[in-house]
Symmetry: C2
Subunit: 204 residues, 2 copies
Amino acid sequence: MVAKDSSTEEKIKNAARHVFHIKGYAGTRTRDIAEEAGINLALLNYYFRSKEKLFEIVMMETLRDFLQSLTSVFNDMESSFETKLEMVVNNYITLLVKEPEIPLFILSELRRNPTHLLQKMNVKEIIMQSYFVKQLLEVMEQNKMAQKDLLHLIINIIGMTIFPFVAKPIFQSIGEISNEQFSAMMEERKTLIPKWIKAILTSK
Amino acid sequence: MVAKDSSTEEKIKNAARHVFHIKGYAGTRTRDIAEEAGINLALLNYYFRSKEKLFEIVMMETLRDFLQSLTSVFNDMESSFETKLEMVVNNYITLLVKEPEIPLFILSELRRNPTHLLQKMNVKEIIMQSYFVKQLLEVMEQNKMAQKDLLHLIINIIGMTIFPFVAKPIFQSIGEISNEQFSAMMEERKTLIPKWIKAILTSK
DNA sequence: GTCTATATACGGATAGAC
DNA sequence: GTCTATCCGTATATAGAC
């Protein structure tokens, strides 16, 4: 049996994932993908019919992988809110240090296909009907925080975690830091973000 | 004398700004711009030589407008740190409620031209050598916060302000809110963000 | 399955009339 | 300055040999 990522189909898909993530759909030429995969251009169409179809597969798998970091911890009934928060932040930063282009890829490609994909992936349900959000609402209540600010908090948690990767070149430029130093900073945020969120939750 | 935005040149530039902001450089066809401007395709090249040149002008002006919200308050010697923070957040949210596509446009187009443009616009100096950052460092010191966490705080301030606009479709989807409700939430953040930053600064 | 060669379409840019 | 018509490079996709 052939290893999954050494089959031609997988080689093309991996190359496509890489190039699409960096250049986006419109900025990618199928020739770039073929070259990166080390195969002939015609093979791409042989396996995937068209650039569009290949892109859809890459987008779906990217979204699936990305949401995995949520679903894998969000509905654990044993762990506390604090523990879940730490785990989610941890999962995402670990993933994004490895593949920092993912968030900007998803966000910029979502401009074209509004909401449609989000609904297909059940993003709303995954987040809003999770045990994590239930626990967050409880903590908010304990701290006399208005329920209607739930979305603000979700924005802050996601933003603090993901935004540095979206704006990576800007922060590297103003901080004059290397890729390694940037990654080290993101590691720091694994413990800092939960602390900050706690500060926000307990502030008057 | 002809009003500035009704001259043909301005009509094209405004149309270009709009289309580029939404579709990005690679996703935009010069034909789209011509149509939106209500002029013929040939005129675009007559006034701006090429798509690339037109894009550079739009990018420069967009960055200039965007940085304006910083420079206009960052070096005021009279106002306190708190006041500056409120003003900056205010300026940006007011701007982005009107033109929510700007941040994602800048961030995704920066992928192509790394750092080059940032240097040209002096982004690092505008931020790091500002009176605002000097004052922020003082507040950090008063609160026994390590100087090396400066960049973390800058990321948080910018992220809390800008990220909701970058991920607007996602948050509208999970919150099930209209454009108007989204804008209303962003208005709330004008006062919430400074409060949250203060909570982070004074947290142990 | 994989290649070379080619058809076809599209998008940026220009020539030239008005 | 503004238009119509057109050129030409480039990118996707397919035909057909191996």
